[in-house]
Symmetry: C2
Subunit: 113 residues, 2 copies
Amino acid sequence: MTSSRRPLLVHPPVADLRLVAVLNALADPTRLTIVATLRDGGERPCGTFPVSVAPSTLTHHFRVLREAGVIRQREQGKQRWTDLRLEDLDARFPGLLDAILASAPEGLAVGRR
Amino acid sequence: MTSSRRPLLVHPPVADLRLVAVLNALADPTRLTIVATLRDGGERPCGTFPVSVAPSTLTHHFRVLREAGVIRQREQGKQRWTDLRLEDLDARFPGLLDAILASAPEGLAVGRR
DNA sequence: CCTTCCTTTCGACGATCGTCGTACGATGGT
DNA sequence: ACCATCGTACGACGATCGTCGAAAGGAAGG
């Protein structure tokens, strides 16, 4: 069978998205880099993001983004694919992500803080 | 003379505004309430904000907002007037504050966290 | 001068954050 | 089977955060 998905990834429904949580999720250089990378390149596996932090740290950032409703994650084989919840975000907070990402692409401190 | 201004309020120039700092400043219910109140009512003294935190806590939040470049403060007599740096923010991060405040006005947790 | 009002500064406190290393789990190929 | 790969879970660590109370300071008015 193709069904497994152990961790049972939790994604909050659109109605539950909270502005403060989204802003807090985006108020970090590493997480902003993740989001900007997804905006530019679309869905991709966890290990392919241009950030230089430990894998466990990356997992932590993904959880913050996922629980805030900014990203969506699905499992396929060995790797976990991550994508932006663009439509959902825009339905709940119109123009927010666009405005943020329009100012974000340059000068992102990717490395360690 | 009318010049005194003991604390020498520091306001970062437009070019120095950092997106992460702005998002971080806005990622707090109390500070978001402050900003939304300013947007609705314009400039006002510190003590007139509908937030229920201790005065010293309020001062702390004002400093975070001021150093992020979100608000401007000036002294007049006994009280300190606070205002939004709307034009500056919009020049540096076009549409950002509008998008945030458009989603902010309702359901702000004003009280203690 | 003295008092009152408005706000700040200075610790202090518990809570949360970002980071890491280690260990574990699940998948897919050899 | 075995093993390499990808990502997570679990502490743990120092740093920062939001909160407060107590004390201080400047401004305006008696």
